[in-house]
């Protein structure tokens, strides 16, 4: 790429107009979605105390998500326009509808398990929330991948796994911090699995992207990625090593896992802006593709 291959170095694609509230929502939505899965799995396997923590975390994550999504709109008073149509070609439309169904289910499941009322309704709601939770935790990855931003679009195969792992790590982190250590075994195991998925997917994404993945290595997004690796890795290790015996260690592990997940989300978010600002990231791969198709024709 030489200077002549861009218009005075100006970006080709526009950077997102989303504010950091959206990166925060990726985290809270992930917690809500993965917690509902953990809660349901824990409840049907008889881990009652853990299920209760997870259901409450799911409802809390969801309650935080709504305002984050609304404040980011240019016209917050029109948030209901999201439900004006159902468009399969728009991951944001799909997500809006899934959240509309997931929200009440997650809330009802938590309310039922906390108050002990409507147990059958609560179980049904927990099932619905658990079925939709994985979508809530992963559709945001499709949402960012479905753009013209090279560092996002190019990572469309890995991003859902990254977001799923990050969601599992943070949800189990919260669950193990809020549950007595003797009851939190499944959360510790899920923390390790989630952290492994998160770290592995990030590595896979970076290596596939090659030069387009520059933002994930350099600058602010790169620093966030390294912080995520340290926090998530340390959180998972601490959960297994100290979290079995001491609650304080479990709480610290949970905090580290959440910090790692947050750093992951903000790293991906920031990388999108940095990628959009670089005309070479857009033009380079397209030029090679265009030249290759001319040669093969």
């Amino acid at each position: 790429m030489t200077a002549g291959d861009s218009y005075y170095g100006r970006p080709v694609v526009k950077a997102p107009v989303w504010k950091p509230a959206i990166a925060l929502y990726f985290f809270t939505g992930g917690v809500a979605g993965a917690s509902s899965v953990l809660g349901f799995a824990a409840s049907i396997t008889g881990h009652r105390r853990l299920a209760r923590s997870a259901f409450v975390a799911s409802a809390a994550g969801l309650a935080a998500s709504g305002p984050l999504l609304v404040v980011d709109l240019g016209r917050p008073s029109r948030f209901l326009n999201m439900l004006r149509v159902a468009k399969p070609t728009s991951p944001m439309s799909v997500g809006s509808w899934v959240l509309t169904a997931f929200g009440p289910a997650s809330m009802l499941a938590a309310a039922s398990v906390v108050t002990g009322r409507l147990p059958r309704m609560g179980r049904l709601a927990a099932g619905v929330a658990a079925a939709l939770g994985p979508v809530v935790a992963t559709y945001t990855a499709v949402l960012v991948a479905d753009t013209a931003i090279p560092a996002w679009h190019g990572a469309h195969r890995e991003l859902p796994f990254l977001f799923a792992g990050s969601a599992a790590a943070s949800a189990s982190g919260i669950a193990l911090a809020c549950t007595p250590v003797t009851e939190a075994g499944p959360a510790r195991r899920l923390a390790v699995l989630g952290a492994g998925l998160e770290l592995g997917a990030f590595r896979a994404m970076e290596s596939r992207l090659g030069e387009v993945g520059g933002p994930y290595r350099d600058g602010r997004a790169g620093r966030l990625a390294r912080a995520a690796e340290v926090c998530t890795g340390a959180g998972a290790a601490l959960a297994v090593l100290g979290g079995r015996r001491r609650r304080s260690a479990a709480v610290a592990a949970g905090a580290l896992l959440c910090a790692g997940s947050l750093c992951t989300r903000f790293s991906v978010f920031r990388a999108g802006f940095e990628s959009a600002a670089d005309p070479a990231a857009t033009v380079g791969p397209q030029r090679r593709r265009a030249d290759a198709s001319v040669r093969s024709a």
Binding site: P11, G74, R75, S93, A141, A148, P160, A187, V283, Q286
Partner: protein, 260 residues
């Protein structure tokens, strides 16, 4: 109203003189707000690019060239009036969750301003960086191909104001024929680098409603050389998400299994 013909622009940059009458006419007719009195210091272009407040943008490239007799010291000017491409497969329209972006009877892509809630999804989805959010207003804005004028059988303001007919408006089919003819003329005259951009219906966005004749590679003008509508890969993305969702369920199930 019966379904009308596909209407579009053919912007022949080989006869653009960089006067920016199109930028002004567009702003005047569409009441597009002021976007600042800027001095970019790069060329005679002080607009920079398309945005929520710039729906026609004249790129101005000062390019060093080798000229016979003069040697390496030659300079040529490339001027091109950029605009929304009104793609056949428009990413902005496909990702819009409210249905605010729609396809008109002229096969153009327009934002319904009374519906847009400013979610901003279309902004990074556009492969050309055309559509943008007007911060003070909260909604997104872009070229409408003068939808209001088309409904009254008028040509878009930019095309009417263009003094050299660099911006040509008309039925899409007719424009494509005209563009092919013009390209032939230039190629016969030995104009190296002359090429149509966006006239090929098999490209990644299914062809542009507003296409161009350029005198150099698209990226020189700040245009992507091989744009692809991002939603083309959407099935693959959902497939990956389904795999990730199942992985999440599997991990939770494994984690919760009671040791035997």
């Amino acid at each position: 109203m019966p379904v009308a013909m596909r209407m579009g622009f053919f912007t022949d940059t080989s006869i653009c003189i960089g006067c920016k009458a199109c930028e002004v006419a567009c702003k005047e007719w569409n009441n597009v707000p002021d976007d600042g009195l800027n001095f970019l210091g790069t060329s005679y272009d002080n607009t920079g690019g398309l945005s929520s407040d710039t729906w026609r943008h004249v790129a101005f490239i000062e390019q060093p060239v080798t000229v016979p007799r003069l040697g390496d010291d030659g300079i040529r000017w490339l001027m091109s009036s950029d605009v929304c491409k009104h793609c056949t497969h428009a990413a902005c329209l496909e990702v819009c969750p409210t249905g605010a972006l729609f396809r008109t009877e002229f096969d153009t892509v327009v934002v319904q301003q009374d519906i847009c809630n400013g979610c901003g999804y279309c902004v990074p989805a556009c492969p050309f960086g055309v559509i943008d959010k007007r911060e003070a207003d909260g909604r997104v804005w872009k070229c409408t191909l003068c939808y209001d004028r088309l409904k009254s059988d008028l040509e878009p303001a930019c095309a009417q104001a263009c003094p050299t007919q660099s911006i040509q408006f008309g039925p899409h089919d007719e424009l494509r024929e005209r563009a092919a003819g013009r390209l032939g003329v230039l190629q016969d005259a030995g104009v190296a680098g002359a090429q149509l951009y966006g006239a090929d219906e098999t490209d990644g966005v299914g062809g542009f409603g507003a296409f161009f004749l350029l005198l150099d590679k698209p990226e020189v003008y700040g245009l992507p050389p091989d744009p692809v509508v991002t939603t083309r890969d959407l099935p693959r993305m959902w497939k990956a998400a389904a795999g990730a969702a199942l992985t999440l369920i599997g991990a939770a199930a494994v984690a919760c299994r009671r040791p035997r």
